[in-house]
């Protein structure tokens, strides 16, 4: 249906399939690539090939890895007694940036969503349970998103893990630093009040 033919149109079509890129953006990027130096464009092509060929999921925690275990699982300095359960590898980046957590992770690769038909079997839940037996884990931190799907996932996992005699914790909900009380929503502010703590003076 495109005006262009051959490789040009096929590149536009391929780019147009990327998330958030419409036909116009695809066309713009294609013509940009057409104009740039060949080595720049080839570097992009090589990166895509390299990622698809070399990046796999960590066999232990399902984070992204370069063959076998991921960098975090390979790091001997990390605390092996606590594991932080997240939905997506990108959530690991967010938690790592805080510098507050030194244990290992477990990536579920999604969250429960009954309406979309995503149940526990579609997630890496069985693998998490297997790890708990093997690795000497004492605490599981449920670090799923604080939205409906994430909360459902956390509650489901808590129900599953509690009888195993582990410490199961859920990340707190509260107000964003730099935020304004006036604009806080009721649920968040309610939970922030509930989870208040004695101030150290």
């Amino acid at each position: 249906m495109g005006v262009f033919s051959g490789p040009l149109q096929s590149l536009i079509d391929e780019l147009g399939r990327l998330p958030g890129i419409g036909p116009k953006s695809a066309q713009r990027i294609t013509f940009h690539l057409l104009k740039v130096a060949p080595e720049d464009a080839l570097r992009l092509a090589q990166s895509i090939i390299a990622v698809k060929e070399r990046i796999t999921l960590c066999t232990r925690c399902f984070n992204v890895a370069e063959g076998g275990l991921c960098a975090i699982c390979l790091d001997d300095r990390r605390d092996i007694t606590s594991v932080c359960v997240v939905e997506d590898p990108r959530d690991i980046v967010a938690v790592e940036k805080t510098g507050e957590f030194a244990g290992r992770y477990h990536v579920l690769q999604g969250a429960l969503n009954p309406i979309e038909g995503i149940g526990p079997d579609q997630l890496r839940v069985r693998e998490l349970l297997a790890r708990l037996g093997e690795e000497g884990i004492a605490e599981v931190i449920l670090c799923t998103n604080p939205n409906l799907e994430g909360e459902a996932t956390a509650m489901y996992l808590a129900r599953l893990l509690k009888p195993m005699g582990l410490v199961v914790t859920r990340i707190a909900s509260g107000l964003p630093v730099g935020g304004d009380l006036e604009y806080a929503d009721e649920l968040t502010l309610g939970r922030a009040l509930e989870g208040r703590r004695v101030i150290e003076a």
């Binding site: 009954p114 309406i115 509650m155 929503d185 649920l187 968040t188």
Partner: protein
């Protein structure tokens, strides 16, 4: 192209782009509405938790030319917090949302359906009753004009209660021994069905879980699936399965 005010319950949300969501609401005056909530997924969003499924909100929206509206402001009427914080209740509430999403027509006011949903969610928030969802399904069927016949055999008109032993929504309700089709129905089950559709709802919601409530629950789900002509995903893939 107007601003509108309405109240509604969030049925589902779909991610859109980087930080936005498309929110589907069952509203009081505008029926089912799909609206874009900009920036909801950002931590500092002014909407915060207000546009999560189950939230009952008063909203100010902008109706454009397309079929997607835009949420400008949202204020919470009720969050049904007990429902959110209990896995079983959340699962039953989820299936109610799915049904309303299927039954509700876009931009077609259905205030009865809206108030039934709000009522059912409030009932579920008040107490963990296994009968809220089945009762809701049956009431929705009645609202849709497919209220099952319970007083006599739907096929031959046999009125002897002792002889009514089966239920099939395709036939239109209960069936007697001679006409039996569909699933079997116990006498207690039939009595419970009659109470749900006959004005004894408050008593029904207080029923503790029993084989009879399970029977009526399964029957209501099946009847709803027959009516919608599709499986209810939230019931089949519930997190507690």
């Amino acid at each position: 192209m107007t601003l509108f005010r309405d109240q509604g319950v969030v049925l589902r949300t779909i991610r859109l782009g980087e930080a936005d969501r498309i929110v589907t609401l069952m509203t009081e005056q505008n029926g089912k509405v799909r609206a874009v909530a900009k920036g909801v997924r950002r931590t500092g969003s002014k909407f915060g938790s207000r546009l999560e499924p189950f939230s009952h909100v008063a909203l100010l929206g902008w109706q454009g030319r397309g079929d997607l509206d835009i949420v400008n402001q949202a204020e919470v009427i009720d969050t049904f917090r007990p429902v959110r914080e209990d896995l079983d209740r959340m699962a039953s509430a989820m299936s109610m949302l799915e049904v309303v999403d299927q039954v509700g027509q876009e931009r077609h006011a259905n205030p009865r359906l809206y108030s039934m949903l709000v009522g059912a969610l409030s009932a579920l928030a008040e107490r963990d009753s296994v009968m809220v969802t089945p009762a809701f399904f049956l009431k929705v069927l009645a609202l849709e004009g497919t209220e099952p016949v319970l007083d006599a055999c739907a096929s031959c008109g046999e009125e002897d209660i002792e002889k009514l032993v089966a239920f099939d929504l395709v036939e239109g309700g209960v069936l007697c021994r001679n006409c039996r089709r569909g699933r079997s129905l116990s006498g207690e089950g039939l009595a419970l069905l009659k109470r749900i559709l006959g004005g004894g709802l408050a008593g029904v919601l207080a029923e503790p879980r029993s084989p009879t409530t399970d029977e009526v629950g399964a029957l209501a789900t099946e009847a709803m699936e027959v009516h919608l002509d599709r499986r209810l995903r939230s019931v089949r893939a519930g997190p507690v399965s």
